[in-house]
């Protein structure tokens, strides 16, 4: 037997009984940044291939959804901070060893890129909104400039999209103390997931049959790739250090098994994959084809939820904490 019990009071909020410092704010932030990354990449690729007219939703409307997503992500990130009064300190220093410091600075570039991509597509995608912007001289100048430099912006957007999606995964990877997330495959997995969410948004939003077909194929490919990466990630953890092996057991018979397989892998990956496969063979009903992207969005959120939660639960230390925090209230 080997038993380690905390015999003095330890009930630090968000640390005990298991670390829970990153909650839904961070999970939603990772999800929305992934969506923005996917929007940056797809819109930029359409522009670079000069297919704006053929895939107008992706070229003109998707960037605005990405801009709203990144705005929400930043809001959630701000709300997550427990000491908000000094939030500006993120921009008071650049710490090369801190992945979050890279993220703070990279996100500024991403916001700029998605804003410029939105502006270049505003007149085509949202004429009424563009009309309002056009009423201001600076607005007209911004729209003209974004349209003129559309291709250089697209090149920058592809690069930034890949980097920022990688960043969200690397943030998990960098925390060796949180074994479940510390796999090197998190970065490509989060990139694939970000691309899948953006493709799902296009499928929900577009009315064009050609665009729908392209993104249905894209979604199928990306979700298939995501399944492959997830399998490799689990294999990577199963062949890792002692704590990584213990962490992966949480989804192979451990307390997260049902949540992982029944509420993430099956509905968030396998079902949409099957629907898209049937859809591409023209054997699925239109109603099912609308459910598939919604399930992909759900799966992308669940992926982040599980990686963050399992990472925090699967620490290095597992002391038995017999202290009941409710007792403290009795002393007050």
């Amino acid at each position: 037997m080997r038993e380690e019990i905390l015999i003095t009071v330890r009930s630090n909020p968000k640390i005990d009984p298991t670390v829970g410092i990153w909650g839904w704010h961070v999970i939603a932030d990772l999800f929305l940044v992934g969506l923005t990354a996917g929007a940056l990449i797809f819109t930029a690729l359409v522009i670079l291939n000069r297919r704006e007219e053929q895939f107008s939703f992706t070229a003109n409307r998707l960037p605005l959804i990405g801009l709203i997503s990144i705005g929400l992500a930043m809001t959630f990130l701000f709300l997550k901070l427990t000491h908000k009064i000094v939030f500006w300190r993120f921009f008071g220093a650049f710490v090369p060893t801190a992945v979050m410091s890279w993220g703070a600075w990279l996100l500024q570039l991403v916001i700029l890129a998605i804003l410029l991509l939105t502006l270049q597509g505003l007149r085509g995608g949202f004429p009424a909104l563009a009309g309002i912007v056009d009423k201001f001289r600076i607005g007209t100048l911004a729209l003209d400039m974004a349209e003129k430099y559309r291709r250089p912006i697209a090149w920058a957007s592809v690069v930034l999209g890949v980097i920022i999606a990688f960043y969200t995964g690397s943030l998990m990877t960098s925390m060796e103390a949180r074994p479940f997330g510390s796999s090197g495959l998190m970065a490509p997995l989060f990139l694939a997931s970000g691309l899948a969410t953006a493709a799902a948004i296009v499928l929900i939003g577009t009315r064009d049959a050609g665009e729908r077909l392209l993104f249905s194929r894209t979604l199928f490919g990306v979700v298939l790739f995501k399944c492959l990466l997830l399998g490799l990630t689990l294999a990577n953890l199963a062949n890792g250090s002692r704590v990584q092996m213990e962490a992966v057991q949480l989804v192979f018979g451990g307390e997260y098994t049902q949540l992982f397989w029944l509420f993430f892998v099956i509905p968030g990956l396998l079902v949409p994959l099957a629907i898209e496969a049937f859809g591409l063979r023209k054997k699925a009903r239109a109603g099912w084809m609308m459910i598939s992207p919604l399930l992909v969005l759900y799966g992308a959120y669940m992926l982040r939820q599980l990686v963050v939660d399992l990472g925090q639960v699967s620490g290095h230390l597992h002391y038995i904490n017999t202290y009941n925090p409710a007792l403290l209230e009795l002393l007050r």
Partner: protein, 179 residues
């Protein structure tokens, strides 16, 4: 870098928790928050059981992942030593350091910034031991400069069998336990 170390003799520790009380009093910690704690380890098979008490806290690692992960440089080393501190005026409460610490040794203060054991650097500055070390009734805790071969901690580590927690993480923890 000057390395301070804490050496705790687990064969003398009785798990009384005086170190925990001393820390709370010295550092005026609010109710419900703790910078140190005592763990009772039981190993073996009945009736051949073995018990070890460990007074634990931040390990003031020589290679602190919390410091490397802090995006605002709020976590820093005190006066070119291994004593890792947090500047509340720079800490945003993002939680990166908490996620990066394998010892779960950090805590969030009620004001929102992250805090942790400081090895009572305000006492060390005056040539005193940390409050937990000073208050230990069994004198099982020792504190000093590890780089000085004549210091008590160096001599204890040179002559006694010892371990550090989660040495395999590569953080080079500077709290040692004599076994």
């Amino acid at each position: 870098m000057i390395r301070y170390a804490m050496v705790i003799d687990t064969t003398l520790c009785i798990g009384c928790g005086d170190c925990v009380v001393a820390c709370k009093t010295e550092n005026k910690l609010p109710a419900g928050l703790n910078r140190d704690w005592v763990v009772e380890l039981t190993t073996g098979t009945y009736p051949d059981l073995k018990t070890e008490f460990r007074s634990e806290r931040c390990n003031h690692c020589a290679k602190p992942t919390c410091l490397y992960a802090c995006p605002t440089a709020a976590t820093y080393r005190w006066q070119d030593t291994n004593i890792v501190l947090v500047d509340p005026n720079k800490c945003t409460g993002c939680g990166a350091c908490i996620a990066a610490c394998p010892y779960d040794a950090r805590l969030v203060m009620n004001e929102g910034y992250v805090s942790k054991c400081t090895f009572c650097h305000h006492r060390v500055e005056q040539g005193l031991d940390p409050a937990c070390v000073s208050s230990c009734p069994t004198r099982c805790m020792h504190f000093g400069v590890l780089d000085d071969p004549n210091s008590k901690v160096s001599r204890l580590l040179a002559t006694r069998r010892h371990k550090a927690l989660l040495d395999e993480t590569g953080n080079e923890p500077q709290v040692y336990f004599l076994t």
